[in-house]
Subunit: 452 residues, 2 copies
């Protein structure tokens, strides 16, 4: 394993890694907001470069379900004219197309909702808009944030999937079109595309980001998540979204105890995933972290089963209207889940909920001995082809456990595609997890991805 | 205390208790569905009598935010023409106006949403519609299911509040306009109007009825509930809504252990409430139930505080769009909660969530020794005046604990107004709770309410 520049670079400066020209669209949100607030740049300048980037790359990437350049420029001028400047002043953001926006349609990746315009913004959109963010457009989602692939390609290799269901947000952020995209995760829909696209994905503790105005997939699992390029950006957006205090970053000599948690899915992972996690563990140990092996407690081995029961039961009921009135417009893959959900007895659903609750309580105790778990994000590199968005086995563990999870684009697999590592904190330990992730990414994420 | 006929009667036969004429609008849903399925009555006949009832009483009761008689009759004829007959065949139902309907506006009790038409039905509406129910109209809600009173009056005394926030559903069901209304409960918005209006209110375990398409008030507390006139009707609707098996009713010799749970709010209750609960306990004991006193475990005494923190924190974020764009159209009472919510630190919110979770785990253990808790529903009779919809102290305990709760209109207070008693089961013990409630109501609810 060696560091090599053949993998896609992550620029620390404002240089477009593809065109090698200075460019505002490559800057993270923290930097854009700081410069715009200081008057060094205008929001209009920023979005013009983002729009240029989209114009150049969108024919291949297909990250956007809706962009109106005139609306983007009008918003930018209005933001530039404002006297008061919020913490996200002038930052353009992408909104997954299952999240409602008052000024652009929400089409759910489904012909059933073609052109559908809601009255209001979702809570998470309204909060960011009020903080100065610019709603740049709607990003492509898999149909109702479900299993059926959509048209988006992977910016690192357009013959490969970007992952799903937050496909457009993953690709748009990775391709330097915008610094931030909202995702939603019910199985692995934030973390998987983040890993496949080589960006930072943050799934907060269940419930911390208000879900009002987000189309439910399975309401006891659905979690709004952040797709960004730096841990500092994840921190900034979480602070704004939940009204919290700034995270206290850790000094270099903070002792961090890592639990290396391979999980029951380890043997099914590709070599690249196993090497990435073990390489990360070795490097962290060398940097002074303590690392020990940790096992998921019983009955966590049942989580693949409980996820299917809970997801399908809730999905079938949450989509009752679509199923009853527009069944012919629902994909075969989603219809299968709904049909399965309709056959699950309520008692079996309740039993699954109670089993997962036991898993949550027991897993919480792991954090008596470690500060953070290190675990795979995904099975491996993004698969070739667009039909399969990958599987959620490594992500849906933590979705069900409701813990915060961050994926970091630290490694590159044998085909040069990103392979993330995942860090997990205890439920509601989101701030501490971000602080640890910032240190880990400073160690493992400087320069190009580590080639396996 | 004696039984008297001066309190409003609950007809066992199809006789309108106000006009004393035979009338289909007084029949419970179980009976309507059975007769319509057998071909003894048509849905059109049913809704014509319901519409007559509305025409006669609505000027005083003001239960409806939206009714289109033509749409009602068109629906009825379409249902009558159907070959297949669902379990709710021909049953007219009222939908609280924070719940989305594809064929009528959802106005939230707020001028912000005047005339707002969604594309789709909420999950709970779509499921009942598919089972043969007829969507009769939208019932009046307090603004966004919040604290600000609306125009509805109490059918037992129009100078008094029907309670809130499910005011219209409570009044419409009590006034024999429809046999069923949806409510939603975040504090006490199903159980309080049910008690004030003298009907059966059922708040299921949190999460059992899918919340998709219901405007959130505070998403970790919001629970869709049923407002009906018989326990059998609650059972029928729960079965349809959650796809479960029929409840096995209990035989007369089943031994039932009752925990009499006065709660920390007991001393603040009116005499009528305390007498109703203690009278119920005595009568049940006489009928062969065992009754023992039960105390809520610590830290349940903090539930009034946690409810305010959780409600206001979530409310403030869930209504970010309305707050940021239409603040002048939000009532002072709701604005106060939102303003408070915006000042609550995230850490305090998380602490409240964790405290309530401890309360849930400890309260669950009460049910090792008893089958059901008997506890007050409300503070007393419905207050005079429409400005105050009452307080949620006795209801919000169980909303936070996420247990199923049923209120039964067993007693009448000194002014002849209904005073309910509340029965509580363990979380997910909804079926057993309904079975016990059916026996209790058969004992205490036969004939007019017990005069205190």
């Amino acid at each position: 394993m060696s560091r090599t520049s053949s993998a896609p670079a992550r620029p620390a400066t404002a240089v477009d890694p593809f065109t090698m020209k200075p460019s505002l669209n490559t800057l993270p949100a923290t930097e854009l907001a700081a410069q715009a607030t200081a008057g060094a740049i205008t929001c209009e300048q920023v979005v013009r470069e983002c729009l240029d980037r989209v114009a150049a790359r969108e024919p291949v990437i297909k990250a956007w379900a809706y962009i109106d350049p005139d609306l983007v420029l009008r918003q930018a001028k209005a933001i530039d004219a404002r006297a008061n400047r919020g913490p996200l002043h002038g930052v353009p953001i992408g909104i997954k197309d299952v999240i409602e926006t008052a000024d652009m349609p929400t089409q759910m990746g489904s012909s059933i909702y073609r052109g559908y315009q809601t009255l209001s913004d979702a809570s998470c959109v309204a909060v960011l808009r009020a903080a100065g963010a610019l709603i740049f457009g709607k990003t492509v989602t898999c149909e109702f944030a479900g299993p059926a692939a959509n048209v988006t390609t992977n910016p690192h290799d357009p013959t490969r999937t970007p992952g799903g269901s937050s496909s457009g947000s993953g690709a748009a952020v990775a391709d330097y079109m915008v610094p931030f995209g909202f995702g939603t995760q019910t199985g692995g829909s934030v973390q998987r595309p983040s890993s496949y696209c080589g960006i930072v994905g943050f799934k907060p503790s269940f419930g911390l980001i208000n879900p009002q105005g987000v189309k439910p997939a399975a309401e006891s699992l659905d979690t709004v998540g952040l797709m960004v390029r730096t841990v500092e950006d994840a921190e900034l957006f979480m602070r704004v979204l939940t009204g919290s205090e700034p995270v206290r970053w850790l000094s270099g000599d903070t002792r961090i105890r890592v639990g290396l948690c391979r999980t029951y899915a380890w043997d099914g992972a590709e070599e690249a995933t196993r090497q990435a996690v073990e390489d990360a563990a070795r490097r962290l140990e060398k940097a002074g972290f303590t690392v020990r092996d940790v096992e998921l407690p019983s009955p966590c081995e049942t989580l693949p089963t409980t996820r299917e029961i809970i997801n399908d039961f809730e999905r079938a009921r949450g989509m009752a209207w679509e199923w009853n009135t527009h069944r012919d417009q629902i994909s075969a893959a989603l219809a299968k889940a709904i049909r399965n959900g309709l056959t699950i007895p309520r008692a079996q659903y309740i039993e699954a909920l109670e089993t997962v609750e036991r898993c949550r309580q027991r897993t919480a105790q792991l954090f008596n001995d470690v500060d953070v778990l290190l675990t795979p994000t995904v099975n491996g590199e993004a698969p070739v082809g667009l039909a399969n968005t990958g599987d959620h086995r490594f992500q849906s563990i933590w979705t069900q456990l409701r813990t915060p999870a961050v994926t970091l684009p630290t490694h590159a697999g044998p085909n040069g595609m990103p392979v993330g590592i995942q860090l997990i904190g205890p439920r509601y330990g989101d701030d501490r997890l971000l602080a640890i992730a910032q240190r880990v990414f400073a160690l493992l994420g400087r320069g190009p991805m580590i080639k396996l």
